[in-house]
């Protein structure tokens, strides 16, 4: 405990307490899955359930821990931040920056701990049945632990840097799990698509984190939140750019248009992974990031301006992506597009200023979407096909799966009094209150689409006659019990946040997630606006009725049942608005012309320069060698030696060996000398 930051009653801050030993040591929750990960890798293969028991054990402890915190947070909220300084990053602008790891216990993170642990535990248990006899079961559970653990690190992060670490850990684990059946090319391609698409968005997250962190010299959420609440000028200056950059990061993880393209393909992974990813551990990260940094968007002018850009993105996502679920044959794809659409709801709500509304939909959606995915997995397990054209009439063979799936579908469709009704109604109320009437009507239309495609999925899967092969049978208890356990909160979770209703002194969901270091000043309606609720219910009911009329009948083949094609729209939807083509085109652009341009620059500019320098050096070298060295210096010395040589050849003639000639020369020389002296003296 380097230093524990306990912020209690401050001016404008909610009344919070530091909590007990569970809050103090909440970091154990974050570490446990990683311990399980290592233990599974080293000892998993020797264990009875191939390591699954370790994963389930770790997650069960986490769930207990999170439940205790969840209960403690009721009434008076908790706030506790523990962090250790790992390294000093350096000094920027006169302020020293530190890199810290730790954990944050407040209303928002407690809610996320609970959701992540709850869904993860049930998915882990379910996976024991689903993955029975599969390849690499041990590795699968190890990666699941990594996935859940990274998500816990993400939601428990007290600062942006640790959040990025968890964020990337989630990305890595999702890559491993989506590509679990990597023997088939399309699965590993889907894994890479998810990874790359997220990487594009991560650039925004990292840049946004740097921008916000450097503006106030502190990466911790508490400091950023307080600076935002105090309208700090340095933070205000970067709020718009920083807010949009963080949103770009959230667009990737939370699959907002147009970066949603990875999510449907992520269905390549085993169904438990899809359930985990869509409910708790991956796609909620972006919404969580928006909620965590919500004071920046709420209290600063720049942040509010950034939200104006986020609302349309969320609105497009919630409506256009929901339509795609209408034409999918793969039951998991239906659910995947449904998730994208619901994430659009959450993002729209948060962007419109509905902090609680967005988080509440995240909370309820986690339960019923996990339920729907696990139900779909149960069906897939029985019929050995993802396609609804191989299903039909399964309600008799698989009653438990059927009933839980129907509950999940009704909850998702927003039928009173299931969980989805309350959370969706709250989003509608937020949009209405914040003045986004157009977006509210889009959301109502989205509710109709949601009900319609879920009815279609239920009708094609469970009604009519069986179109597949073999005899499907109900899944084992290890799979159906988690379904039932998820169906319970799918029904009752909505009651946690009925506007105006509080559980005695315990508060409700609104006050629970509002336990933050600063007060979140979003709007909380006094009671249910029954007009809006009626719109939502009417849209949902109409969707169910229309869906049943169109798909409730039985035909010889599933394709005939599904034969309802609106011109123009149907091919557009089948091709997913050609988004994949556009993305591929973009990639192709970078791969094609731009790559060629880079190649051209490389060949002619960079290589040209290098070649010119090389060639110049060669010419210079040739000149120095041939001209200067060979013809100049060498010729000089050669000439000197040749001259000496020929001179020697000439002079040696004088050396006759005849002594008397020498004597003659001697005498003549002496005479010349004498004469010279005589003459010149």
């Amino acid at each position: 405990m380097a230093d524990s930051l306990v912020l209690a009653v401050e001016a404008g801050a909610p009344n919070l307490v530091a909590g007990g030993v569970f809050a103090q040591w909440a970091g154990i929750m974050l570490v446990l899955p990683f311990v399980a990960f290592l233990l599974i890798i080293f000892f998993g293969k020797r264990m009875k359930y191939l390591g699954a028991e370790l994963a389930i054990g770790a997650m069960a402890i986490d769930l207990l821990w999170a439940s205790v915190l969840f209960v403690q947070n009721m009434g008076t909220g908790l706030f506790r931040e523990e962090h250790f300084e790992i390294a000093s990053i350096g000094v920027f602008d006169g302020r020293s920056l530190v890199f810290e790891l730790g954990w944050l216990v407040d209303g928002l993170s407690i809610m996320m701990y609970f959701v992540v642990a709850f869904v993860s535990l049930l998915v882990f248990i379910y996976a024991v049945g689903y993955m029975h006899g599969d390849v690499r079961v041990t590795w699968f559970f190890a990666a699941l632990c990594l996935f859940a653990g990274s998500m816990l690190v993400l939601v428990g992060a007290p600062n942006l840097i640790q959040l990025i670490i968890g964020w990337e850990g989630v990305g890595l684990a999702s890559y491993l799990l989506i590509g679990h059946y990597w023997e088939q090319k399309e699965n590993s391609s889907a894994a890479m698509k998810a990874f790359y698409t997220n990487k594009v968005a991560d650039v925004g997250l990292v840049l946004g984190a740097i921008l916000l962190g450097l503006a106030i010299g502190d990466f911790s959420f508490s400091a950023i939140s307080e600076a935002a609440a105090n309208h700090a000028q340095p933070l205000e200056a970067v709020a718009f750019a920083g807010g949009l950059l963080l949103f770009l990061g959230a667009m990737g993880k939370s699959a907002q248009f147009p970066l949603h393209i990875w999510l449907p393909d992520a269905m390549a992974g085993p169904t438990p992974v899809s359930a985990l990813m869509h409910a708790a551990t991956m796609v909620t990260a972006g919404i969580y990031l928006m909620a965590r940094t919500f004071p920046v968007y709420q209290d600063l002018v720049g942040g509010e301006a950034a939200r104006e850009w986020m609302v349309p993105i969320g609105a497009i996502t919630l409506f256009a992506m929901g339509l795609l679920a209408l034409v999918a044959d793969d039951i998991k794809k239906v659910l995947a597009y449904s998730t994208v659409s619901q994430l659009g709801y959450m993002m729209t709500a948060v962007a419109a200023g509905g902090y609680t509304a967005g988080l509440f939909h995240l909370f309820t959606h986690a339960f019923f979407k996990a339920l729907l995915f696990l139900g779909a997995g149960s069906v897939i397990h029985a019929v050995h096909s993802n396609n609804m054209s191989d299903m039909g009439g399964l309600r008799k063979e698989m009653p438990r799966t059927f009933w839980t799936f129907v509950i999940g579908s009704l909850s998702l469709a927003g039928i009173i009094p299931l969980a989805g009704f309350f959370s969706k109604d709250e989003i509608l109320a937020t949009l209405d209150h914040e003045g986004y009437q157009t977006v509210m009507w889009i959301a109502v239309a989205g509710a109709f689409v949601t009900a319609f495609y879920m009815t279609r999925a239920v009708a094609l899967t469970f009604f009519g006659s069986y179109k597949g092969h073999g005899h499907p049978h109900e899944s084992p208890a290890v799979m159906t019990v988690p379904l039932v356990l998820l169906a319970v909160p799918s029904v009752i979770a909505g009651f946690l946040n009925i506007p105006g209703v509080e559980f005695g002194g315990l508060g409700n969901f609104t006050s629970w997630v509002g336990a933050r270091v600063v007060t979140i000043g979003d709007h909380h309606p006094e009671g249910i606006d029954w007009t809006l609720a009626a719109y939502g219910l009417a849209a949902g009911g109409l969707g169910i009725v229309l869906g049943w009329l169109l798909y409730g009948r039985d035909e010889e083949t599933q394709a005939a049942r599904d034969l309802f094609e609106i011109p123009v729209l149907y091919p557009l939807l089948r091709q997913k608005y050609y988004m994949d083509h556009m993305a591929l085109g973009l990639v192709g652009f970078t791969k094609g012309p731009s790559a060629r341009a880079v190649d051209w620059i490389n060949t002619y500019v960079i290589d040209g320069a290098v070649n010119a320098v090389g060639g110049g050096t060669r010419i210079l070298g040739r000149f120095v060698y041939g001209g200067l060295d060979q013809r100049g210096i060498d010729m000089f010395f050669n000439g000197v030696s040749a001259a000496t040589d020929s001179a020697g050849l000439a002079v040696r003639r004088l050396q006759t060996g005849r002594v008397q000639q020498y004597a003659m020369g001697f005498v003549v020389g002496a005479l010349v000398l004498v004469l010279a002296i005589a003459v010149f003296n």
């Binding site: 006759t656 060996g657 005849r658 004597a663």
Partner: protein
């Protein structure tokens, strides 16, 4: 006392020696010519001493030195010539022109 006549004789004798040195082919005769040149030098030395009359009789002393050296030189020279004659059956200096290019 006049010194010129001695100098003229010495010069004539030296010139004779030079002539013999250059012209004669017999090695013994060449040696003799060298002796003539040395003798001419000795006459000069003694003649100058007679004029200068130095206290230590330097001229005579040098003359005696030259005679001594000449004797030694002739001794070595004749020995060489003898050896060459034994090898080549000739005393002609033109046959000895080995020390050339």
């Amino acid at each position: 006392m006049m010194v010129n006549q001695f100098l003229v004789v010495a010069a004539a004798l030296f010139a004779l020696g030079v002539y013999g040195l250059i012209v004669r082919r017999n090695a013994v005769m060449v040696l003799l010519a060298v002796e003539l040149m040395l003798t001419a030098v000795n006459i000069n030395l003694v003649a100058f001493e007679a004029v200068i009359r130095s206290s230590q009789a330097v001229g005579q002393v040098f003359a005696i030195f030259v005679i001594t050296v000449a004797a030694a030189e002739v001794g070595i020279g004749l020995a060489i010539i003898l050896m060459i004659f034994r090898n080549r059956q000739s005393a002609n200096v033109d046959d000895f022109s080995l020390m050339k290019f």
